[in-house]
């Protein structure tokens, strides 16, 4: 029973709009504080790596942006699936709100990766499985946004783009496990291996805090964009008059 009330609330645009407006400053504030502390921890407090020296500090910007690029896609695909199955307008709006954020973070992941690849591998780009799959992710985001922009009827645009988002989600495990499935130049995960962290605690906590900061940041941006999507979709609803006055 309780789950259904919860589900119904999230299906109601005025309720979601109010919820988003109320929580945005809290998520945003927490994200900013966590990000600054994690930056200080990663750039100043963490000791240098015995192998990569200070170049390992790339991890504090590359890993969170790359993780976010996948996390945003997964969120988008889940929202799109919910929209398709239960014909929920709010879910389609959330999926549409995810796409530009995800595309930007994929660009950041690729760019920071190139800047880490040059000093470590000697090349900005190699056609490595993980790098290639991440590039495919960028094209999936572009395809999703292009499809939405190309279809005038909003209901049809929601449906068609949602199908693309759901089908494209197969790329996420490919990115994640590429370093284990294939012989890759890209290093394997450093945070957890065999259930144990492989990093020194002084190096690990800023990274984990940075992941938390990026998750909170994504929640902030998603809630802001979701409000914009809801305003655009609900053309003549009376609740809009109330929230704008």
């Amino acid at each position: 029973m309780a789950t259904w009330t919860w589900f119904h609330r999230f299906g109601s645009p005025p309720w979601v709009y109010g919820f988003a407006a109320r929580w945005t400053p809290w998520f945003g504030g927490a994200a900013a504080i966590a990000m600054l502390v994690a930056l200080y921890g990663g750039l100043v407090l963490a000791p240098e790596d015995y192998q990569q020296k200070d170049a390992f500090r790339m991890v504090y910007v590359h890993a969170p942006t790359a993780w976010l690029s996948m996390m945003v896609y997964t969120t988008m695909a889940v929202a799109a699936a919910v929209g398709l199955i239960w014909r929920m307008k709010v879910a389609h709006a959330a999926a549409a709100a995810c796409a530009p954020v995800g595309a930007w973070f994929t660009v950041a992941a690729l760019g920071t990766g190139m800047l880490w690849g040059k000093p470590m591998w000697g090349a900005y780009w190699v056609w490595d499985p993980r790098l290639t799959a991440e590039l495919v992710l960028l094209f999936l985001y572009f395809g999703y946004m292009g499809l939405r922009a190309g279809i005038e009827d909003p209901v049809k645009a929601d449906k068609a783009s949602a199908v693309l988002a759901v089908v494209g989600v197969v790329n996420i495990p490919i990115i994640k496990y590429s370093v284990e499935w294939w012989n890759s130049l890209h290093q394997t995960p450093t945070v957890m291996k065999m259930g144990k962290p492989t990093m020194d605690t002084d190096m690990l906590w800023p990274l984990l805090l940075m992941f938390l900061a990026f998750a909170l940041y994504f929640a902030t941006v998603l809630l802001i964009r979701l409000r914009a999507e809801l305003l655009r979709r609900e053309r003549n609803a009376s609740w809009i008059r109330e929230v704008l006055s």
Partner: protein, 55 residues
């Protein structure tokens, strides 16, 4: 201080990467806020037009 910025010689790669990553963080926040204020203005205009039509 200059030692900090040199990052054992990797600063030339490290600082642009941080600028890109956190630049994207800031850009996305600004773009989201712009999108919201635009959507608000459009919604207001629509409401005013509807009010004129019905009056």
């Amino acid at each position: 201080m200059s030692e900090f910025f040199s990052m054992s010689g990797y600063g030339v790669y490290l600082w642009p990467a941080f600028a890109l990553g956190f630049g994207v963080v800031i850009i996305n926040l600004v773009m989201a806020l712009n999108t919201l204020s635009q959507a608000k203005q459009e919604a207001k205009r629509r409401l005013e037009m509807n009010a004129e039509r019905t009056s």
